[in-house]
Symmetry: C2
Subunit: 423 residues, 2 copies
């Protein structure tokens, strides 16, 4: 039997509308649509927006939220994050991912692009919660060529197994970065992805130090180096890309590489602030938005990321017109959907029903001269009232089924795996 | 009869405590304190923090929230804000201020330092809602010397009338800025403030353009110019101070001038980003935090301001250790209290009972390795559960008495005063 949902009386682009959804697809937008046998969701007093697409995160890192504040990047990684990560077993990753998804629903995200170990565990958690997701098999050999055969075999096996995943959850190839993966491995991973029509998810030019290292070793920036390896194609999603120069941007544009801006993480880790949004946009690079993992940027709130991204562009360019809100909302929704090859990020007949209802009957939207301005600059995610993913109501009136169970299991698991560590 | 409040089982600096409050003062902190005849507030599952002190805002500008997005600063002021402001009558200012205070309570602010026309109307709104506040009589003569006598008379009259205000609400002298007020007027205002033991609240070096103008006219930066007028004393609160140089900072430190960092407003209006926090702190300048008015920074959320301030310092300095969270919490609470000469910002016996209870039983505080990190970087203001101002519970379980009335009156008033304007 087909699954049907009718959202009544919701505000869409300033007008009151009904939205009819069949099997995860918006089939009709109009007024006074008949309910038939559809489930009903009342939208009075609420505006509907596309669900956010979080284009770069490491979901189980929710478990390390707030660990190592005030440390330098090197201390943070060496003394805290890496030793803790080694302790994360399957159960920890499962509940850490569920906590991440709970947080995403609570802040209006309906799709995320993930990179973490044991991707099949995260994919299972995602399937159970009904979120659309992309999970990388992480290739990171620390440039140890001895690992080549083993990684190839594991990747092939993981890909084969991923074919059993729910249709909402997708397998991608993660190339951790140009500095942490050996050349042959990068080439193999990208070729494998192309042959199997998979996305590639990598970190690229996150820090200036990474660029210096690349120039010292390869005479080129990381982007130029990867271009030289002939691996940059339109299936590549490059996270951060904070330290790309004009020539790098030209390459990214020519190859159709998608970029993920992770503003809060870049600021918090002191990586830098001058993200070249205008330059990328003007060159034709598709720019998307991500939160990065909770260990570095502490939450998975795309509304916060949008706000910081806009404030920062306006601030460092000293131009109040920089990164206008109509571009910003696309960056957080439509552009991510395009990068992932899914038909969301727009609310129209035929599109995926990945949506959020925003409660506008509160002080953040009072007065309400400009809904988008209020959403981005005045409100916070507590105004996200309900979330629909693939046509299913995954959060209703701010309640996600099983949320207490997730919090209590996370607390139990954290206690178990990090028990003997002094923070 | 004395007003008494007992907060039970709240987490204070990691330990479960009770807090006993008599007539607005914390009289006892301990465990299992007897309730006696005190009102009871259950604090289980919550952490107590000092109420935030919003050191620079223009409260009635809530009425212009989201007006003029995407305009340049000049268009924004000339075409939108100033024409709209002329329409704000007493009723509009009254409800606009109440909306601001509602928003402040909802985000944990217990004291604000305001600068707006008709300060007595805002002070009345503040008294009715039970918030601690400071309101400037605004001196802005656009350097028209003809207005001198009239302003002196009005200021004296306003000060006299302010003596009838509630004891929670304080009168200050607002010198709009060095560029908008004539020399004699600045000198008179500051002298009047000193003679009457009043604070002076001014804008200082908000934009680079303001500095250029000052240097062209006076050969000096605004700070140096004011120093030359001998008006800078420890009763002066300087908002923004984004474009101060080393010599300015030396002057501010020597004179004990307090600075208010308004990070979101500075970024959003494109004023700049390199706020010299380290330099001011090291020179001994007391740095505090503000949101500015809602027309420029869209909300009055001090938690958001804290987060952006920290991210920005770490980002532009490329130093993850910049503006550590223990300094940040003081900037948002204790430093503001010191600047205003009130004994809040600390939770100890003898201090003012201006407090917030933070609900930690939610995903933003899961796991909870580091409460302060979670508060600033993971949570948003929806975790502020209850607010106590001057020993009275002004928000309980996120409900503020009369909040529906405030929203409906603001909507009505906005419709009335801005009715014929196309946005």
């Amino acid at each position: 039997m087909k699954s049907k949902l009718l959202i009544k009386n919701v505000t869409l682009n300033g007008a009151i509308s009904d939205i009819y959804i069949v099997d995860g697809i918006i089939t009709k937008i109009g007024s006074s649509l008949p309910q038939g046998r559809a489930e009903l969701l009342e939208g009075r007093g609420m505006a509907v927006i596309p669900g956010f697409v979080n284009m770069h995160t490491h979901s189980p890192m929710t478990l390390m939220r707030g660990v190592g504040e005030g440390l330098s990047l090197t201390e943070w990684l060496n003394d805290r994050i890496w030793p803790l990560e080694k302790r994360l077993d399957e159960e920890a990753i499962y509940w850490g991912t569920k906590l991440a998804i709970l947080e995403m629903f609570k802040s209006g995200t309906t799709t995320f692009n993930d990179q973490y170990w044991q991707e099949s565990v995260s994919a299972r958690a995602a399937a159970e919660m009904g979120i659309r997701s992309f999970h990388s098999f992480v290739i990171m050999d620390y440039r140890d060529k001895e690992l080549y055969d083993q990684i190839v075999e594991s990747a092939q096996k993981a890909y084969k197994e991923s074919k059993k995943w729910s249709s909402l959850n997708h397998f991608t190839i993660g190339i951790h970065s140009a500095y942490s993966v050996s050349e042959d491995m990068i080439i193999w991973g990208c070729k494998f992805a192309q042959e199997n029509n998979l996305l590639v998810h990598m970190h690229l030019s996150e820090t200036e130090r990474e660029n210096f290292k690349s120039i010292r070793e390869h005479s080129y920036t990381p982007t130029h180096y990867l271009e030289d390896l002939r691996v940059l194609e339109s299936n590549v999603i490059a996270a951060h890309s904070l330290w790309v120069d004009d020539y790098d941007i030209e390459i990214l544009a020519k190859r159709g590489v998608k970029v993920v801006h992770n503003v809060n993480s870049n600021l918090k880790l002191g990586s830098g602030f001058q993200f070249n949004y205008n330059e990328m946009r003007d060159a034709g690079v598709l720019v998307t938005l991500g939160t990065d993992g909770c260990a570095s940027s502490n939450n998975l709130d795309m509304l916060e990321a949008m706000k910081t991204a806009a404030l920062l562009q306006k601030g460092w360019r000293r131009d109040p017109k920089a990164l206008p809100q109509n571009e910003l909302i696309d960056i957080a929704t439509l552009n991510g959907a395009k990068a992932l090859g899914i038909n969301s990020g727009v609310i129209e007949e035929g599109a995926l029903a990945d949506l959020s209802l925003v409660d506008t009957d509160n002080l953040h939207f009072t007065p309400n001269f400009d809904f988008l301005s209020n959403l981005i600059f005045s409100a916070n995610s507590s105004s996200i009232n309900s979330v629909i993913c693939n046509g299913k109501v995954v959060m209703h009136d701010r309640y996600v089924e099983g949320e207490e169970e997730i919090l209590s299991n996370v607390r139990r698991v954290v206690k178990r795996v990090f028990n003997d560590i002094k923070f």
